[in-house]
Amino acid sequence: MIKIDGLSKSYQVAMRSSGVRQAVKALFKREYKVVDALDDISFTIEPGEIVGYIGPNGAGKSTTIKVMSGILVPDSGSCTIMGYTPWKDRVEYVKHIGVVFGQRSQLWWDVPVIDSFDLLRDIYKVPEQEYRSTLSLLTETLELQDIIQMPVRQLSLGQRMRCEIAASLLHSPSVLFLDEPTIGLDAVSKIAVRKFIRTINEEKGVTIILTTHDMNDIEALAKRIILIGKGKKLYDGSVSAIRDQFGTRKTITAVYSHQAEPFQVPGTVMEAWSPERAVLSVDTEQVVISEVLIRLSAQVELLDVAIDTLPIEDMIVQLYKEHQI
């Protein structure tokens, strides 16, 4: 459904150095630096997938999203989404996509949410019947009943986000682009939003492309990750593959009866220690867990043990390091 091939885009960025003399020079001649925002990006996404599109800031994520949503025209390469070329068939194409920008609002600020929804219905020419049923579904699943009559400026961030997502789905798009949808939300709202995204993906088969810095979003939603760095595609695979690759590191949290002196367990690294509790990290490729536990109980009187995998944040950091970004 989404087919991207050899996408490339460069920007000319004006160079500006500090100091008065430079500033005066800049009045007469501008120096430019060419930045490759996208360098030969290719991938394919099947309908119904949830894909996490990640990378450090400035890697080219928003550029790709802009190309895919028809806002930006690339220098070279092709992009076909549902048979359309986004930037060429803009008006026709855009009817089938929904976009949520986490930091910017698409709702009208001073009027009740429902007024914004009604206007969006008219912009997208959604038939009345369809609008009513979609609206009631969204209101119910996102629990908007109490807030739908309130003006947007009076809503909390979590409430506003739920309305934004609902707004982007009013016209039943087949593809949804989410740009930092959970940024700034409290824990409860984050979970609610994630649950909702999963639901519409499973029940309505909406293809979702998720850009986020919150790796817990990725873990909760995406089965596949595309990593982009410095304009190049660096990794395209499943989250579980990453886990397999980096998941051999484990952390052991041990609670034990009072031990005044710090201790060492061979084959592990002591991350944190207190007389009652210690956190050790182990590379299970080097040492087997059972062996570590034996060695540990030789040192302390164990009361409780917890074994966790490396959080996905750290795994992604490792991934970045591996690709030198």
Binding site: S69, L72, V94
Partner: protein
């Protein structure tokens, strides 16, 4: 178009939330042209006439231009404040919606308080017409409406050009004010009072002359020869918006190939 009407409605509801501010600003907007008109009145009181034009004739000219300006200020506010739209990155959102960019920008802002200025010019218009001893025919009335519409198109076109500049640079937008505010100040007097080159520029390049001066001659029975070209002159004003739309398209294309 119905959708545009819906845009306006939502903006109206939006602005009605701030009621006192609305009324105060509207009154202020009434006073601005009013003070200019007062100045005009006093000048005529002292001088009696300007290059052969009497007070009420100039008042008619004044009313028409200010009316056109007020209406276009109301409608084209989205273009007028386009720099903030682009600066915020909100233009991306415009591109993601399945409607024409022009329609959406027009629908993004509607400044209701400019009604104050509109009211003032309507009052002046009625007053001027009542004081002028003219024969009013249907054709003249139509020409009048035509003139106002034409002015609206010119001003909106200039606003659009200024907004298009925002695709390239945010600064230096004040230049457009020369032609909107400046154009209005100038055209509120019949162009005949100015030097020849001024008249020529503002008839052929930015066709205020076609909006105001030429048809005005017809309205006041000051024409010589065939009346028709004078009546049809406002069409040039309306046509002015076509190259502006073209430039807008070019601007949008530029935005889409260089990013924001």
């Amino acid at each position: 178009m119905r959708l545009y009407g819906k845009y306006i409605l939502i903006l109206f509801k939006s602005q009605m939330q701030y009621r006192t501010s609305f009324w105060l600003l509207s009154i202020g907007q009434f006073l601005v042209p009013f003070s200019i008109f007062a100045g005009l009145y006093f000048l005529f009181e002292r001088f009696g006439q300007i290059k052969g034009w009497a007070f009420h004739e100039v008042a008619l000219c004044f009313a028409i231009i200010h009316m056109a300006f007020a209406i276009s200020e109301c409608f084209a506010r989205g273009f007028d404040s386009f720099s903030s739209l682009v600066g915020n990155g909100d233009f991306d959102r415009v591109l993601v919606r399945p409607r024409s960019t022009v329609l959406q920008v027009l629908g993004s802002k509607f400044e209701f308080t400019r009604v104050g200025r509109l009211l003032q010019s309507v009052i002046v218009l009625c007053w001027a017409i009542s004081r002028l001893s003219l024969e009013w025919t249907l054709l003249k009335a139509v020409t009048l409406v035509f003139m106002v519409a034409s002015g609206v198109f010119i001003f909106t076109g200039i606003f659009m050009l200024a907004a298009t500049m925002c695709f390239w640079t945010i600064q230096g937008l004040e230049i457009a004010n020369i032609f909107t505010d400046g154009g209005r100040e100038m055209a509120q007097y019949p162009l005949g009072i100015y030097q020849k080159w001024v008249m020529r520029f503002f008839t052929f390049i930015i066709p205020f002359g076609c909006v105001n001066y030429l048809p005005l001659l017809y309205l006041l029975d000051k024409t010589s020869g065939n009346d028709l070209p004078y009546m049809l002159a406002p069409a040039a004003g309306i046509l002015f918006i076509l190259p502006c739309l073209l430039v807008w398209r070019i601007g949008v294309r530029h935005y889409r190939s260089t990013g924001s």
